[in-house]
Subunit: 288 residues, 2 copies
Amino acid sequence: MSEIVELRKARAKAWFEELRDRVCTEFERIEDELTGQLADRPAGRFERKDWKRPSDAGEDTGGGTISAMRGRVFEKVGVMVSTIHASFAPEFARQIPGAESDPRFWSSGISLITHMQNPHVPAVHVNTRHIVTTKGWFGGGADLTPMFADPESAAEFHAALKRACDAHGTDYHARFKKWCDEYFFLPHRNEPRGAGGIFYDQLDTGDWEADFAFTRDVGLAFLEAYPHIVRQTMNRAWTVEDRQHQFVRRGRYAEFNLLYDRGTQFGLRTGGNVEAILMSLPPQASWP
Amino acid sequence: MSEIVELRKARAKAWFEELRDRVCTEFERIEDELTGQLADRPAGRFERKDWKRPSDAGEDTGGGTISAMRGRVFEKVGVMVSTIHASFAPEFARQIPGAESDPRFWSSGISLITHMQNPHVPAVHVNTRHIVTTKGWFGGGADLTPMFADPESAAEFHAALKRACDAHGTDYHARFKKWCDEYFFLPHRNEPRGAGGIFYDQLDTGDWEADFAFTRDVGLAFLEAYPHIVRQTMNRAWTVEDRQHQFVRRGRYAEFNLLYDRGTQFGLRTGGNVEAILMSLPPQASWP
């Protein structure tokens, strides 16, 4: 690996960790600000837990940190960063760009999922990553899952992502929004998982700096839009019936993640960290 | 299809429906007998709902009936019978005995899953079916999922299934118990789904009457053991903490069904009845 590639890896990793820290700080601030239902409970705080990737030969192949909070606004939120270096199994290597001849890869990324106490606050999922084989690319996205139709929150979320996309490619938003709509869809229910957002993968325009800047801007767009959406909705009153509806919607979320999500399937089948992968599952769900 | 095959199909179908009726009657009787927690609620009763299998060309390809009860002992129980006749898609036909040259099949079966109010009452899953292509066979099984270790209930359940197996083949119980243990296993958790039972498939010994009798005996063994297990455990006191534990165990159950269960995956990907397939999912589950 050349010096420039090593420097890029270090910068990408540092960004994902910085984004994690900024998200955690902002989410804890929101916990403090609650005035509506559950404000009598103590504000939540993140707890961190490191994990090491198990390796057959005993060498260091990296690991990650789970930052999890069970709070009064964020019923369960996990912010996972991981940086690993290993080799793809032969059957995977064939499907991965640049891994056909050399199965070694390096991967760093951030993944976060929120499940909210208040059914009127949308859940969110964000994930960005940098993967290096003999090639290198970025991937990720962000999508919003309101429990009740919430065109205002959805519009704000889409607008922030569109601004991030428009700054980097005229076709980015249209392409990545469509990709998201197609990906986060439950065919057996014939329904989308949520209100969408963007999804992109194997982004390698030939300009690493630009691709990295775009990936940073996706994270910043999320940081601009989502905390504001939470603050706008978190003090709305809700009922036991609203909460039941939320549990049913979360059942759909679990269905998607366990039946279709490629990251979940890939992670579980390749010995990924089970706790980190399944942090996405809802604290309470219902199939009544 | 010869007359004898048609007669066999009719007899298998009639048995699955008879077993359904006997199970529903017994479960409603149990609802009436509760004296412990929740006995102030009304006893549950089954409700039936028919569905027709959608067919591209508009012809009748069969359907089924969902019998569902939301009760005070049985928080959610579904007893599904279905009888369908259609053609396997080419990619499936190749994997199915007797369907290589003629993709048409007939299938009839019963499938039932219980999720109990009292965390001290084990959940159960039973499924038996008869499938006819140019060949014909039986498959199915029964397995128990206690929420807390319950060696007494597990022993009673295994003993009843062993008696049914022993009456039909000296190696049946050992083979089918092992098959069950291997099938109902969560590799990513390195844990079994429950306490096991038996699982068998493509049973075609050449003696249709014997194979059918075995399949009936599996249903009768279930009817002998499970209602007794429920009666032994349903009046035990439980706490909110016990219930939380139950919700977590049910999360594991949902993980298995959505990640690994071949019937669920097959059904959802081949346009099966979504409501019937997903009746197996728990009324409440938790990933805390």
